[in-house]
């Protein structure tokens, strides 16, 4: 019987930040499942996917797209456990400093930045909505770059290195709250329709008792206890709700459609 429960997360934010966010949650989970919980931050999405599939990690905080990738790559052996209430209706925002950009069509011939290649809210969904607006980023834009993280996309747009960028709405809101972006200069010109995003996933061959304990632990978090409040606040969640693989079918379709999944 293993003694350590290994957890990681996709690096859509700075890994230190992720580690800080995870600390109280890790202590809470450890208490609930009776195992030592260890968090390893990585700087590459693919590494977290490979780790979970190959039994080197036990639970990972995936984005919608990375979950689909893991699920496909493992032959359906990855199951999503829970997600935040917000993740049911997640959105991305397109931001710019350029006065002449007001709708997606204006992006033709511009420099554009996505987040990381494997990000749902930073790449897959924005790309998917661009494609439905008849813009193929690879052909119609002057230059497409991948900043690697949502914060970095904002920095790139604010610094004028790119004309526009797309990112996760929750990071955008966090940055505004923290006053880290100058809203008079950087503005949102398009917000996508909602889609399913982040979840906590495990392998399906995990001990069912542990899986049950984990789900219960997440679901029983609430903002009334001080511990629950702290955790939920850090996770930027109102509460956790159960989720199922079917929720991500739409993302899978979008990925296949955009050619990001074979």
């Amino acid at each position: 019987q293993q003694q350590v429960f290994r957890v990681s997360a996709i690096p859509d934010e700075a890994p230190t930040e992720l580690q800080r966010k995870f600390k109280p949650l890790g202590e809470y989970l450890s208490q609930k499942i009776g195992m030592k919980v260890e968090f390893t931050p990585v700087t590459d999405y693919a590494a977290s996917v490979e780790g979970l599939i190959n039994h080197k990690l036990d639970m990972v905080w995936f984005g919608g797209f990375t979950f689909v990738q893991a699920n496909v790559r493992s032959g359906g052996k990855i199951v999503p456990l829970v997600q935040r209430e917000e993740d049911e209706k997640f959105r991305s925002v397109f931001i710019t400093t350029d006065k002449s950009i007001n709708k997606l069509e204006d992006l033709k011939g511009k420099n554009f930045s996505f987040g990381a290649e494997s990000s749902t809210s930073g790449h897959l969904m924005p790309r998917s909505f661009l494609l439905s607006a008849k813009i193929n980023p690879d052909m119609d834009m002057k230059r497409v770059s991948y900043s690697g993280a949502h914060d970095a996309t904002v920095a790139a747009v604010a610094g004028g290195k790119v004309d526009a960028g797309a990112l996760n709405i929750s990071v955008w809101e966090k940055l505004i709250e923290a006053g880290k972006v100058d809203t008079s200069k950087v503005r949102v010109f398009y917000t996508t329709p909602p889609y399913y995003d982040y979840n906590w996933s495990v392998r399906s061959d995990i001990d069912p008792a542990v899986r049950k304990k984990l789900t219960d632990a997440f679901l029983s978090l609430n903002a009334d206890t001080p511990q629950g409040k702290e955790i939920l606040q850090l996770q930027r969640a109102t509460r956790f709700i159960p989720t199922k693989p079917e929720n991500y079918k739409a993302i899978e379709a979008a990925a296949r459609n955009a050619g990001l999944l074979k």
């Binding site: 890994p15 230190t16 080197k56």
Partner: protein
């Protein structure tokens, strides 16, 4: 009268070819140095660089940096030790300087030439497979953490050390090792008694430099969650946290200066 310089024409032709090859590359790389000096970009750069000051120095952060620094140094040292262990035999296999069949005719016999070629390509593959690929493979095998980091360094650096060691030996003065080989000593002995004393200081400089590279180039460690300064640095860049960045740069500069000092010290010991 002195005859005409036989090398002159080939030099002129060489220059012309060089310019002709360079031109399209300059175009492709959008080489326009003057854009560096327009006022707006200068100011923007100034702002970013200004954000480096003051360096972050909260106790918590400094502690984090200290821990990461040791992690990095330890991983780099361990990785380098393994890399050297593997690289030295490959160097000995792949240097033509130590070839016995070359003596006399200047041409290496077929079989050793093939072996040498295989080793060279093996080293090329080792060092040109990108870190990310090693990371993905190692995560599968050993999972996230320092083991993967150490192995990743060992593998890529083995490829680099093997090649550069061979190059250094190959371009050093060959008289000493040649004389030994010509008198019938084995390749290893000729290496120890002829080539090594000839090239030792150069080999040493390069090894220390590589060690310092291992400390700095820790991208791969970030990929495999091995931590260390490189990963911290990566994070700070993404966050545009100039202060943190400058603290870590200072640590790098100090480490690099220390490595330089050690290199000079060791070379002086050789003398």
């Amino acid at each position: 009268m002195p005859p005409r310089d036989p090398a002159w024409r080939s030099r002129i032709v060489g220059c012309i070819v060089f310019v002709l090859v360079l031109w399209p590359m300059l175009v492709q790389a959008e080489f326009k140095p003057w854009i560096l000096f327009d006022a707006q970009s200068l100011q923007a750069t100034g702002n970013f660089v200004a954000s480096f000051f003051p360096p972050a120095h909260s106790a918590e952060f400094l502690q984090l940096v200290a821990v990461s620094t040791w992690e990095t140094v330890a991983m780099a040292t361990a990785g380098m030790a393994l890399a050297m262990l593997a690289a030295i035999p490959m160097t000995l296999l792949s240097t033509e300087l130590l070839s016995i069949s070359r003596l006399g005719s200047g041409r290496v016999a077929r079989l050793p030439a093939w072996l040498r070629q295989i080793v060279r390509w093996f080293l090329i593959v080792l060092r040109s497979i990108p870190e990310l690929v090693w990371a993905l493979l190692l995560v599968r095998i050993v999972g996230l953490g320092p083991t993967a980091g150490v192995i990743a360094i060992a593998l890529t650096y083995c490829g680099m050390l093997g090649k550069v060691y061979a190059d250094i030996l190959e371009s050093s003065e060959a008289a000493a090792s040649n004389a030994l080989l010509q008198n019938g000593s084995g390749r290893l002995s000729a290496f120890l008694y002829g080539a090594l004393p000839e090239a030792s200081s150069e080999l040493l400089s390069y090894t220390v430099y590589r060690w310092e590279c291992a400390i700095r180039g820790s991208i791969v460690m970030g990929f495999v969650g091995a931590g260390g300064l490189g990963q911290r640095m990566d994070e700070s860049i993404k966050m545009m946290a100039g202060g943190e960045l400058s603290t870590m740069l200072i640590v790098f500069i100090l480490l690099v200066a220390a490595a330089d000092g050690v290199s000079a010290l060791l070379r002086r010991r050789l003398d």
